[in-house]
């Protein structure tokens, strides 16, 4: 089960006649009428999938906060890419990636092409840059005019810019390191894996033969902040806290930017903080929410029946 989340004051919830959007009081602000799926609001627009007759036509539409359809496109012989997963194609920094059926480009909020569809693959814009592929060989980061800002030249991005850093690796997958917004190697490409963790931090992992040893935190100047001691961490710092577990440890806690555990390793699993709370899986098997002081403010509902999102 995928739990609905509030974005921009609205959360998609299944009603009797389809998916609608509730407000923070639980009332349907946009009546339930979208089938089969509806996504979260981002930058004032949510993506919905509509399955009109005939059944082999899939319409992808975008609605505004009033529920009004701002854009719609029908696709023949198409199905939602993942019937039960989230819809990930949303506006990001005012740009929406779209395909002309063959190649990918970007439209703005008026749904006019800003960057013509001439790339075999693109990612969303993050911090003003998007990863783009020309054919199989050339990979780069482009700005919002379509200008190539960083040529990856034989390297490949592992994720998006997050806190001024992005992980890159050789085409073979490793060695890996971190580069900044001008393409400079902040952490040299000599590690087994690398991740950008937001808020100006990243991590890289070493290996010992086939097995990965552990990961260490680095800052945006390439300074190593911790030993290679982490066996697990979440995707991003949030307000200076990162869910992490020590290699060989017995649980997940939260570390600050020095790598010190400020919330002990007491959880089976833990996600990033979203505002005041983070969702965690307790040792008891319940899922719950923890605040930034480490207090579990609510728990219940066996996660086996309810995998959290």
């Amino acid at each position: 089960m995928e739990l609905p989340e509030f974005h921009e004051g609205l959360a998609p919830v299944q009603g009797q006649r389809g998916v609608g959007y509730i407000d923070a009081k639980g009332a349907f602000a946009i009546p339930p009428r979208f089938q089969p799926r509806a996504g979260d609001f981002h930058e004032g627009i949510a993506s919905i999938y509509v399955q009109p007759a005939p059944a082999n036509v899939l319409a992808i539409a975008r609605i505004d906060h009033s529920g009004k359809v701002a854009f719609r496109k029908d696709y023949q012989n198409a199905h939602p890419p993942n019937s039960y997963g989230p819809i990930r194609t949303d506006f990001s920094e005012g740009m929406l990636r779209l395909s002309d059926g063959n190649l990918w480009g970007f439209v703005d909020r008026t749904f006019q092409w800003v960057i013509r569809p001439e790339y075999s693959m693109v990612s969303d814009f993050h911090e003003g840059l998007a990863n783009a592929h020309e054919g199989r060989a050339a990979e780069m980061f482009i700005d919002k005019t379509g200008k190539e800002v960083i040529s990856l030249a034989g390297r490949s991005a592992r994720g998006d810019f997050n806190g001024g850093l992005v992980a890159v690796a050789s085409a073979a997958g490793h060695p890996a390191g971190l580069i900044d917004r001008i393409g400079q190697e902040v952490v040299p490409l000599k590690y087994r894996m690398a991740w950008s963790l937001g808020e100006g931090y990243g991590a890289v992992a070493t290996d010992e033969g086939a097995a990965l040893d552990g990961a260490a935190l680095f800052d945006s100047h390439g300074k190593q902040l911790t030993q290679f001691k982490f066996g697990w961490f979440a995707s991003s710092f949030s307000g200076g806290l990162l869910a992490a577990g020590a290699a060989g440890g017995q649980g997940i806690g939260y570390v600050d930017v020095t790598g010190a555990f400020v919330i002990p390793q007491q959880f089976e699993q833990a996600l990033n903080f979203s505002g005041a709370l983070a969702r965690v899986l307790l040792k008891s098997g319940d899922f719950g929410y923890v605040n930034r002081k480490g207090k579990v403010v609510w728990s219940g509902g066996h996660v086996a029946a309810c995998p959290a999102t």
Binding site: M1, E2, L3, P4, E5, F6, H7, E8, V13, G15, I22, A24, G26, D40, E43, R88, S92, D124, H126, G159, D160, M193, W195, G198, A205, L212, A215, F230, G231, W232, F233, A234, S235, S236, G245, A246, G248, G249, E268, Q269, L271, N272, S274, G275, L277, R279, G285, N291, V297, W298, G300, G301, H302, V303, A304, A305, C306, P307, A308, T309
Partner: protein, 63 residues
């Protein structure tokens, strides 16, 4: 921004970093919960609700 919490104990071996798209703003409160789950026969009968940052249920029903 969505990641599946796993029901098994974490494998404290890299790489199991959760890769989460950083599209738009992260979700905010109220925070979703599910209550009243009956998993005795593997069946799911939970009700969706929402809590505030103090853990108080603010939307108590499946809306």
């Amino acid at each position: 921004m969505r990641t599946q919490l796993k029901t098994t104990a974490p494998r404290l071996l890299l790489p199991i970093l959760a890769v989460v798209a950083v599209t738009g703003q992260p979700p905010s409160g109220p925070y979703p919960i599910v209550v009243g789950v009956d998993s005795a026969h593997g069946a799911f009968s939970g009700k969706l609700g929402f809590i505030d940052e103090n853990g108080k249920i603010v939307i108590p029903r499946s809306s």
